[in-house]
């Protein structure tokens, strides 16, 4: 027989193992591949050190410059808001901290539930705003691919199901929690193969750019 509890245990057990294995294998494969591809050796004499420039760029490209802000304030503000909200919920919600402790063997202090709840609500609103913006902005709409919508949908579902589960708005609760875990697992599975990989590659890429420019002695 199969009911909500069996579903929850399936998402917490076998499916979680599979999802995390695909995630870990996929991500490591991509990262190792990226690192091993390397670059053609540069025989030119470096004009400056790579590291300081690389690290500086990691920072400067994270904070939007005034020009970008003026051109696309919505992207900057809403983008920041939902990324921060998402990370707050992901990394500092008590059950998530316990999950991290269980999987990694170490964790960090959590934030009180009301704080996380607030961050989640904001994230949901911001995510809806990004979709509306994407659909109404002619340029954005034109350059959006199926993958963009897929990634949006998966991220949104993860946050939405988490919010519904926390507030126990779906009965029975094991079904609500199972749905949330299932969505998170779908996210884990598609992560290495979509633009979601940027979670791990953005900072590498920013460092890489900065380092390359730094070596040439140009500002980035």
């Amino acid at each position: 027989m199969s009911g909500s509890m069996e579903f929850l245990l399936w998402t917490k057990g076998p499916l979680f193992n599979i999802a995390l294995a695909i995630f870990a294998i996929g991500l490591m494969a991509r990262l190792v591949e990226i690192f091993m591809l390397g670059r053609a050796p540069n025989y030119a004499e470096p004009r400056a050190h790579e590291w300081p420039a690389g690290l500086r760029t990691m920072l400067t490209r994270t904070v939007a410059d005034p020009g970008t802000f003026q051109r696309a304030p919505f992207n900057v503000v809403v983008g920041w808001v939902w990324h921060l909200g998402f990370l707050t919920a992901l990394l500092f919600f008590v059950p998530h901290v316990e999950l991290i402790q269980g999987v990694l063997g170490f964790a960090w202090p959590a934030l009180p539930n009301p704080v996380v709840d607030f961050a989640t609500a904001i994230t949901l609103l911001a995510l809806i705003a990004t979709l509306v913006h994407r659909l109404t902005h002619p340029v954005k709409r034109h350059i959006s691919t199926i993958e963009d919508y897929l990634v949006w949908a998966v991220v949104f579902m993860v946050v939405l199901t988490g919010y519904l589960a926390y507030h126990r708005l779906v009965e029975p609760y094991p079904l609500a929690l199972g749905m949330h875990i299932l969505c998170a697992e779908i996210l884990l599975i598609i992560l290495p193969f979509t633009k979601l990989t940027h979670i791990f590659t953005t900072f590498i890429a920013r460092w890489y750019n900065g380092a390359a420019f730094g070596r040439k002695g140009v500002q980035s």
């Binding site: 539930n113 009301p114 709840d117 507030h167």
Partner: protein, 155 residues
């Protein structure tokens, strides 16, 4: 979401300082419920019963509730299928009814908001038989033989 526990701001007068630190906040909603029930009783005579055993009380919540309600003048005991203890609270019309088993274990603990708790009133069927019961006792006692004008038993 998590509302600031309002009961914490107004500790029950009966709660001692040592216990009031562990307020679980479940007495207050019941007190509000009693308030609404009293309003209904005053307005339309409608009675209300609240089963205290179905409440998610934490340790001390029940004591805090009964401490706020206080003690009134009436105490009564009904012997039927084990004892039932009735206590009037300091609020007229609010009664604590403690149903106990033959072994004196609590079966149910209820608050009744009524002029008189149901179990104290004679059952209508019993009331209908009351004249007959009196007459029977009277004739048993033999006192009526001396009084020729004794009223006939009503049926």
């Amino acid at each position: 979401m998590s509302v600031f526990d309002p009961a914490r701001a107004h500790p029950a007068p009966g709660a001692t300082c040592a216990r009031s630190a562990r307020e679980h906040g479940h007495a207050l909603p019941i007190l509000h419920e009693i308030r609404h029930a009293l309003e209904r009783l005053l307005a339309s005579g409608e009675e209300t019963r609240i089963d205290l055993q179905s409440m998610p009380f934490g340790p001390g919540d029940l004591e805090r509730l009964t401490a706020v309600l206080g003690q009134g003048e009436v105490q009564a005991r009904v012997e039927a299928l084990g004892p039932t203890l009735i206590q009037e609270t300091a609020i007229p019309g609010v009664w604590l009814v403690d149903y106990r088993s033959l072994e004196d274990q609590r079966l149910s603990y209820q608050i009744e908001i009524a002029t008189l708790p149901e179990i104290l009133r004679p059952r209508p069927e019993d009331l209908a038989e009351s004249l007959a019961a009196l007459d029977a006792r009277l004739s048993e006692s033999g006192l009526d033989a001396a009084a020729p004008n004794a009223s006939p038993s009503s049926s």
